[in-house]
């Protein structure tokens, strides 16, 4: 790090810069009010809520089957993971068993979704750092994943595919072959991005040692997912508390060392590789059988409350579901991973440059749809 202090050398005046909600690199409608001294950020105040749609409140007025569509739209980049967590919450509450095959399909699609989400992150992070080509490569590969989703779920983004008790329908017949081909293409694409961006000296200079946060502070802020793992904390719900069929796969958790922006970036790149390993194993192990446990359309789970955790691409998502036995939930609370990750922005951005602010914000990989809900 460069010594940024200018005190005692020059008389400077602080300037207030309003970054966002319409700024190309705030990833949606996030607003930061920065007080800058030249290019150095002295203080900042984050503002969220521009995309607040009251999803949690909306859930209270919808049937359980309809809520899945709302969860799709919360974190609109990792839809399947979101659907899965809600369905798992309801299943846990009702004690509903999910057929094996459905679990495997869920895991495959969720991991594929994770790859898609991380690919998008790599691209946008490149844009934040000023490189305009990685996002095109990322989208090229992500597009193939979207086509795969289209073939399986019928939709490219808002799938509504994972249902309470299983999945909507079986996968197409040529699923395994197509997946195999897709994984090959993805590997190639990720290696390409690696060569183009990850180890470019300019990129390293921009991201190494920028936005460092230590493990203790990160935990105090409730950061999770790749952002926390970059600090060296191997916290991953898939390993800590294996849900679905995650305990049957052999995969590692990439962890960083320093907790800087580059670590947060590269942890995600490595995670894509691990996800693909999971997919390969799942494809091999996938059993035959039904894909959904039949249940009634109007579900009335028993009274009670449940908190279910899951690992989203952005971190740990949790759903707190309170049911009073009616056909609609009494209260749904989502623990949005990027909400918690974003909270640490104040800590991360102090005494950095405006250019770094963009990189650090990008490295947190926030989705405002989820932050504001």
């Amino acid at each position: 790090m460069v010594d940024l202090s200018t005190e005692g050398q020059l008389d400077t005046v602080q300037m207030m810069v309003n970054m966002g909600p319409q700024h190309p690199s705030t990833h949606g409608v996030f607003r930061m009010v920065l007080w800058v001294d030249g290019e150095r950020i002295v203080d900042l105040e984050p503002h969220i809520g521009y995309l607040h749609r009251g999803s949690e409140k909306l859930c209270e007025g919808e049937l359980y089957v309809q809520i899945v569509t709302l969860f799709d739209r919360m974190d609109y980049i990792s839809n399947l993971n979101n659907e899965m967590i809600f369905c798992r919450a309801v299943e846990r509450l009702m004690g509903l068993a999910v057929p094996e095959r459905a679990e495997y399909i869920r895991v495959i699609l969720c991991e594929l979704n994770r790859v898609a989400s991380h690919l998008l992150f790599c691209g946008t992070f490149g844009i934040d750092a000023g490189a305009m080509t990685p996002i095109m490569y990322a989208f090229r590969d992500r597009e193939k994943i979207q086509s795969m989703f289209e073939a399986v779920t019928g939709a490219r983004m808002m799938h509504n595919y994972i249902r309470i008790g299983g999945v909507k329908g079986d996968v197409p017949d040529d699923f395994s072959q197509r997946m195999g081909a897709l994984l090959k293409v993805l590997r190639q694409g990720i290696n390409e991005t690696d060569k183009l961006l990850s180890f470019s000296e300019i990129f390293l200079a921009r991201t190494k040692g920028i936005g460092v946060i230590d493990a203790e502070t990160a935990i105090a802020y409730g950061m999770s997912g790749p952002s926390l793992r970059a600090c060296g904390v191997p916290m991953d719900v898939r390993k800590d508390e294996p849900y679905s069929v995650y305990d049957r796969f052999d995969f590692g958790i990439p962890i960083g060392e320093k907790g800087d922006s580059w670590d947060r970036y590269y942890v995600r790149v490595e995670e894509m590789r691990q996800s693909m390993r999971i997919i390969e194993q799942a494809l091999e192990q996938m059993p035959d059988g039904p894909t959904i446990t039949p249940s009634r359309l109007v579900l009335r789970p028993p009274q009670g409350e449940v908190y279910v955790r899951g690992e989203n691409p952005r971190g740990e998502i949790g759903v707190y579901l309170v049911s009073n036995g009616a056909d609609k939930p009494y209260r749904v609370k989502v623990r949005p991973p990027s909400f918690c990750n974003l909270m640490a922005i104040k800590e991360l951005l102090k005494d950095t440059y405006i250019a770094d602010a963009v990189v650090i914000l990008g490295s947190l990989d926030i989705v405002l749809g989820e932050v504001d809900r």
Binding site: L63, G222, R300, P301, E305, Y307, G325, A326, D327
Partner: protein, 170 residues
């Protein structure tokens, strides 16, 4: 849609704790004895209900006790049970990898309870959000400005009795 088909006597969801949860269930009464907590369980987690003014002391205790070490505030939310508001803390320990639920009831008329931001910095936005949506005041919070809603918003949209504005089709 209106809430039809509501059954008066809905069955209770069965409690199904895992090993860590059972261990916690045995451990917690001893540690928290001085606060006279109600220890129960939700479907998959141990839940502890304490008085609202005890929340910071209980939190400090469960955070600092080496047997519990709940250093991670997973989620903070408010549930409106109409007769009372319930503030729910989901606590997690990154070392022990166990989880518990801490609950505190506050009255809906003057909901206020001490803030836990000094223990977990991550409670900051959660408390602001709860203040926005449910009107729960967290005493000692450094900055209680609206987070999700705009300044000057009337009412607490998270509460059950909040009347949604009429939706108009263009």
């Amino acid at each position: 849609m209106v809430e039809r088909h509501r059954r008066e006597e809905a069955p209770q969801a069965p409690v199904d704790l895992d090993d860590k949860g059972r261990a916690l269930e045995l451990l917690l009464p001893g540690i928290l004895a001085e606060f006279q907590p109600e220890i129960g369980a939700t479907v998959n987690l141990v839940s502890v209900t304490v008085k609202s003014q005890d929340v910071p002391s209980v939190c400090r205790l469960v955070k600092e006790d080496p047997r519990l070490s709940f250093n991670f505030l997973m989620c903070l939310c408010v549930v409106d049970y109409e007769e009372h508001l319930q503030v729910v803390y989901h606590l997690y320990s990154t070392d022990m990898k166990h989880m518990m639920v801490l609950k505190a009831n506050v009255s809906p008329e003057e909901p206020s309870l001490p803030s836990v931001t000094s223990l977990w910095t991550g409670a900051d936005w959660y408390e602001r959000e709860s203040h926005d949506l449910f009107g729960v005041v967290f005493e000692g919070h450094p900055n209680m400005a609206p987070l999700l809603l705009y300044e000057g918003f009337e009412g607490f949209p998270g509460r059950r009795n909040y009347e949604m504005p009429e939706y108009k089709e263009w």
